[in-house]
């Protein structure tokens, strides 16, 4: 029972966020190695690693890399998703704050492999500190010739820009991120099969590789140590390691990097154990279905969590003990999605606000038993019919909470207060 550190291997080294220290610890050696490989060899190495996207969907990284056209008739772009808006998720923040050069190196390698000469890091507006660190690191990398024209004399060019978002969760959705970056309203764009994939027509209708901070940060160690080495960790389909942002009722909240397939209960122990009695875990950020304590005997990898009815998601691992009122908790979740709905499509725009109003009425004591089924039906009316994943993500947790904790809803509606609250606490 221990962490397995790949991405975090060096983060405790003082000064690793500066170029000198980073270089002394092997920083940019992967880039040098990659520049000596063919582009396809780099992609093949990523393929061999089995690396999957860490932004939430777990899509195999190499398929995107390989999907980028291999000619340069158009400009190509690499877009790093550093929006990290998923509630309960703060791993990208630490990766950028503490090891910025790892990400930059990963991006340059990605740029080299996909023929991109320009990269963007779209970082959420609230991340002013990580942005400052990154900006400094980018400057250092330019000065050292790791960015810019003719990198390390290889003839390869790669310019990197940092772009700050303006505080919208939806802008973490990759197509909305592209809209936002291009100066449009932060709303999503049509997806395949309604429009070409971003790898064909992304930013400014040019081929664009979009990956999460953690995904790109994995690249240097994969190149340095080989894809097979990376794939030797984790499970067959979920290779490598994963950082979980553990928050909530644990004694030592924080980011923990563990091998894929680590038992959930081990992660809880790593985080100092549960404060009080475990009620449930939300393992992948607020968007994924809640996992009641009795189902927590599960391994942390894409397949096992899916089998358990939830998802690995972003790794935003929220721990709830038995003092948590599920209805209140879900009201907060509903409020988040209603607030963050971009408004583009009918189901999410109207449905999320409606659900919030129902929750508010229930909490105010005005609930009706039929509201529970109404909530479920609203979830059905949103899920699968909305324009982008935000709508689905608004429906899933609420639906799962009713599935597992219907009695809490019924109790709250009947009594006007929660099953976990004493009557006195409410009336005072």
């Amino acid at each position: 029972m221990a962490e397995l550190r790949v991405l975090f291997k060096d983060i405790d080294i003082p000064g690793i966020d500066t170029l000198d220290v980073c270089e002394q610890n092997g920083g940019y050696s992967a880039l040098k190695k990659a520049l000596g490989m063919t582009r396809q060899q780099v992609i093949d190495e990523v393929k061999a690693s089995g690396l999957r996207g860490r932004g939430g969907a777990g899509f195999p990284a190499w398929i995107k890399w390989n999907g980028i056209p291999k000619d340069e008739s158009q400009p190509h772009y690499v877009l790093c998703n550093a929006d990290e808006g998923e509630p309960g998720t703060f791993k990208d923040r630490e990766l950028m704050m503490r090891h910025p050069h790892q990400l930059i190196e990963g991006m340059v390698i990605a740029g080299y492999a996909t023929l991109a000469k320009v990269g963007y890091i779209y970082i959420r507006g609230e991340y002013t500190e990580p942005a400052r660190v990154l900006r400094r690191a980018i400057d250092e990398a330019y000065r050292a010739g790791y960015l810019g024209k003719n990198i390390l004399g290889s003839g390869v060019d790669f310019d990197l820009y940092l772009h700050m978002g303006a505080g919208s969760y939806e802008c973490g959705e990759e197509s909305a991120m592209m809209s936002s970056l291009m100066g449009e309203r932060g709303q999503p764009r049509l997806k395949f099969p309604h429009a070409p994939l971003p790898t064909i027509a992304g930013l400014w209708d040019c081929p664009t590789l979009i990956n999460n901070v953690e995904t790109l940060s994995c690249v240097p160690s994969i190149i340095r140590n080989g894809g097979a080495w990376y794939a030797s960790m984790g499970t067959e389909k979920s290779t490598g390691t994963k950082i979980f942002s553990v928050s909530g009722h644990v004694n030592k909240p924080g980011n923990y990097e563990v091998e894929m397939g680590t038992p959930l209960m081990e992660l809880l122990e790593l985080a100092g154990g549960v404060k009080g009695k475990l009620k449930a875990v939300i393992p992948g950020g607020s968007s994924v279905p809640i996992l009641p304590a009795e189902k927590c005997d599960v391994n942390l990898d894409y397949e096992s969590l899916q089998a358990a009815g939830t998802m690995l998601g972003s790794g935003g691992f929220m721990v709830l003990n038995d003092t948590v009122c599920i209805v209140r908790f879900m009201r907060r979740t509903a409020a988040f999605y209603a607030h963050e709905s971009c408004g583009k499509c009918t189901p999410c725009r109207e449905g999320t606000r409606w659900m919030l109003k129902i929750f508010d009425r229930i909490l105010a004591g005005g609930g009706r038993q039929e509201d529970i089924d109404l909530l479920l039906e609203i979830c059905d009316q949103i899920d699968g019919r909305s324009y982008c994943g935000l709508g689905d993500a608004a429906a899933w947790p609420i639906r799962a909470s009713i599935k597992h904790y219907r009695h809490e809803y019924e109790y709250f509606i009947e009594h006007g207060y929660s099953v976990v609250e004493s009557k006195e606490a409410v009336t005072v």
Partner: protein, 762 residues
């Protein structure tokens, strides 16, 4: 055109072939399957918005083994392109449920003020709810409340509570009109349509958003509460506010026009109109319309019968002809008449009175069917069809505030750029509204008046980059002195901009020339150089290229075609051309004056010196609109006798001795010829405001009777048949055979040919 690739798809079990990439919502129509929608609009967007989610269908793809792999989620058919083997179900239980869900969502915050909403009765939200919606709502919370009936311009009212956020209006303003004046504010359920910081919605295409809005969120201030769709009738018409000839619907109640809607014509306006068109026909309803003839008695007008009025006019004309000759009489006007009326006006002047003193031109330059264009290209003013502009590779806008001068031509030019990636060059002395609607066009900011130098300089650049042997010496010699350096110096345009513009002038360049070209002091030189530039760049014979001198008024083109010109007979036959004259003499059974008459300018100058006995001003307020109003006013004051025929007691009419009340476009039928030579019919909708208001056609015919030289006229249709004989380009324009998009008359291969043909016909 390249053959379109077809794919086989299946909709509700029916197999069909459709063009690859066609949106399924369109394919479904082919098999009679209706898919409800709100946000979809085939003219909006490079891709569709797909935001209302009303058009969901279940879709899958046929596998090699014949089974179908369904996609896990329903798909929006408005954005789902047809691909080989696509299988679609539009009416499954799941889809019916989905539609009910979407409508329930749309309705929870909808105010349901149908009884007081202008959209009621023609509202997609009402209709879709009726057919696909839930019967009752489960919503017990407060509805969203937002400002209602919020005027955002003189024309448009915004009701934010009614908005269903379909983004049609915002997409129109970004993609079609390009002014981007409407956008969404905020997000989620707080999202609302707005202008920038609630400033006025000044787009000159704002009316289209009213028609696009699928609910009553954007309504017309002019139409608000004036009628319900079921108590109006509609008649097809053509807008008269500029020379583009947009197709419109006149919606009317007895004796009242209540609104104007865009009418589809792919060849002209697609379905758009500008605000002048949409809101600029209210004058028809005015209670200041003339209701009977007026005859001057001293300082005052008194109403008169038509017989009295005709008698006064006829005797004054006859007197003038007897005492001073027929050339002491002249007529100005015609650009606002129908073709039939314009034709009759010239016949009245030439046949019944015996003078060529007639002219429809009020601008400073009085172009006679652009001689150069006609002899070189066989067209008087414009080569390119409006619809072909969108296929241009380069659009070159010269001396025109196109948005304002030719709104619908502008929309095509913008479409060429926005949808199809054409390059745009804009030459104008000042910053124009037009250039702001394109991203980074090549701007040639020349010094006022230096258009000829600029164009010569571009020709010079184009020629000098061509192979030396391939250029005609004469052409080269005409511009060899216009070196880029000199042109840059004289016009103030940078060398880089000149070179960039010249490099874009290849095959497929459409030249759109506006008022500053039309009225340039050195127009003949300018237009000659333009013609050469068009030829040298290989655009003389191309559909998606060519020279276009855009015209000012609704029927400027038709009036010129009809020979409302002092020196040209119908069909641009010079008055002095014996053959042409004889052809018409035979047709009309008269002998025609052989001397060219006076232009508007000459007539007015003469009149100002007291040398015109009779001025007949038809449907033009020359006292205000003539390019030199002071001259027009002096002329009106000093002419012996002034007849004004109009809808209103205009400023010009104040000078009249007799005023004749004419019918508006809505009260008569006929044809107009738009700036691209398209002859289009319009129909009668309303009764005239008084029995004593007559169409101009009748007035000319009756006046001829009083002049003792009857011109028998039974209908506009019959006049058109005669026009076809006088000017064979119109020979196909039979009323009963006119295609809905009208007839664009063919370029004359040789001008003489038209006359030969004409001679044969008679």
């Amino acid at each position: 055109m390249a053959e379109q690739e077809l794919v086989t798809i299946e909709i509700n079990g029916i197999e069909l072939q459709v063009p690859k990439g066609e949106m399924i919502i369109e394919s479904a129509k082919r098999v009679g399957v209706d898919i409800p929608f709100f946000c979809y609009h085939p003219r909006l967007g490079k891709g569709q918005a797909a935001n209302c989610r009303m058009c969901l269908v279940e879709a899958g793809t046929k596998q090699p083994d014949g089974s179908v792999r369904m996609m896990p989620k329903p798909q929006t058919s408005c954005s789902l392109p047809a691909s080989q083997g696509l299988v679609v179900y539009t009416d499954t239980v799941a889809i019916q449920k989905a539609r009910r869900g979407i409508l329930e969502f749309l309705l929870i915050n909808h105010p349901l003020d149908c009884p007081v909403c202008d959209r009621g009765g023609e509202c997609p939200l009402q209709n879709n709810t009726l057919f696909y919606g839930p019967g009752v709502t489960r919503y017990v919370e407060d509805k969203r409340h937002l400002p209602k009936a919020f005027p955002i311009s003189d024309y448009v009212v915004l009701d934010r509570e009614r908005c269903i956020h379909c983004a049609r209006c915002t997409r129109f303003s970004q993609e079609i009109s390009g002014d981007a004046q409407l956008e969404f504010l905020k997000r989620g359920a707080d999202m609302m349509v707005s202008t920038f910081q609630d400033t006025e919605f000044t787009s000159c295409f704002s009316g289209n958003t009213i028609e696009l809005c699928p609910v009553g969120a954007l309504t017309s201030r002019r139409y608000r509460f004036r009628a319900r769709p079921w108590d109006m009738k509609s008649q097809k018409s053509v807008c008269t506010r500029c020379s583009n000839g947009c197709n419109i619907w006149l919606d009317y109640r007895p004796k009242r026009l209540v609104r104007v809607l865009g009418r589809e014509n792919e060849a002209v306006n697609e379905e758009w109109t500008c605000d002048r068109g949409k809101f600029g026909h209210e004058y028809i309803n005015s209670d200041r319309r003339l209701l009977s003839p007026l005859v001057r008695q001293g300082e005052k007008f008194v109403t008169a019968s038509w017989a009295e009025a005709y008698q006064v006019i006829a005797s004054r004309i006859q007197q003038a002809v007897r005492a001073h000759g027929a050339d002491s009489v002249g007529a100005i006007g015609g650009a606002h008449l129908s073709n039939e009326e314009a034709y009759l006006l010239q016949k009245l002047m030439r046949v019944a009175i015996g003078t060529n003193n007639l002219d429809h031109r009020l601008e400073r330059n009085q172009l006679a069917g652009g001689d150069t264009l006609l002899t070189r290209f066989g067209v008087p003013f414009t080569q390119t069809a409006i619809a072909d502009i969108e296929r241009a590779k380069t659009v070159f806008i010269i001396g025109s505030e196109l948005v304002d001068e030719q709104p619908i031509v502008f929309l095509r030019a913008r479409k060429a750029w926005y949808r199809f990636g054409a390059k745009v060059i804009i030459a104008y002395p000042e910053v124009t509204e037009t250039e702001l609607r394109f991203d980074e066009p090549v701007v040639l900011r020349y010094r006022e008046g230096t258009e000829p130098v600029l164009v010569a300089g571009l020709l010079h650049l184009v020629l000098s980059s061509a192979e030396a042997g391939s250029r005609a010496d004469a052409v080269w010699n005409s511009v060899s002195v216009y070196t880029p350096e000199r042109v840059a110096e004289e016009t103030g345009v940078s060398l880089d901009a000149l070179r960039e513009a010249a490099s874009l002038l290849g095959e497929g360049t459409v030249f759109l020339c506006g008022g500053r070209v039309r009225n340039h002091a050195e127009y003949p030189t300018l237009v000659r150089t333009l013609c050469r530039l068009v030829e040298v760049t290989g655009n003389a014979g191309r559909a998606n290229g060519g020279l276009n001198i855009l015209l000012p008024e609704v029927n400027s083109h038709g009036a010129a075609d009809m020979g409302v010109l002092p020196d040209m007979l119908p069909g641009y036959a010079p008055v002095g051309d014996v053959g042409a004259r004889q052809h018409l003499e035979r047709l009309w059974n008269v002998s025609l004056p052989a001397q060219p008459g006076l232009s508007s300018q000459a007539m007015l100058e003469r009149a100002a010196q007291g040398q015109m006995q009779v001025l007949y001003i038809v449907a033009e307020d020359i006292a205000q609109k003539y390019h030199d109003p002071a001259l027009a006013q002096r002329a009106l004051e000093n002419a012996g006798f002034v007849v004004v025929q109009d809808l209103f007691l205009t400023e010009t009419a104040q000078y009249a001795d007799v005023v004749l009340p004419a019918a508006s476009v809505a009260e008569k039928e006929g044809t107009f010829t738009n700036t691209e030579r398209r002859v289009q019919r319009f129909w009668e909708a309303l009764d005239s405001p008084s029995p004593d208001v007559k169409p101009d056609l009748n007035i000319f015919a009756e006046l001829a009777v009083y002049l003792g030289k009857p011109i028998p006229v039974f209908s506009a249709e019959q006049v058109m048949e005669e026009i076809g004989k006088a000017f064979p380009a119109y020979a196909d324009c039979h009323y009963d055979q006119m295609p809905p998009e009208g007839i664009r008359w063919q370029a004359l291969t040789r001008v003489a040919e038209s006359r030969e043909k004409a001679t044969q016909l008679t």
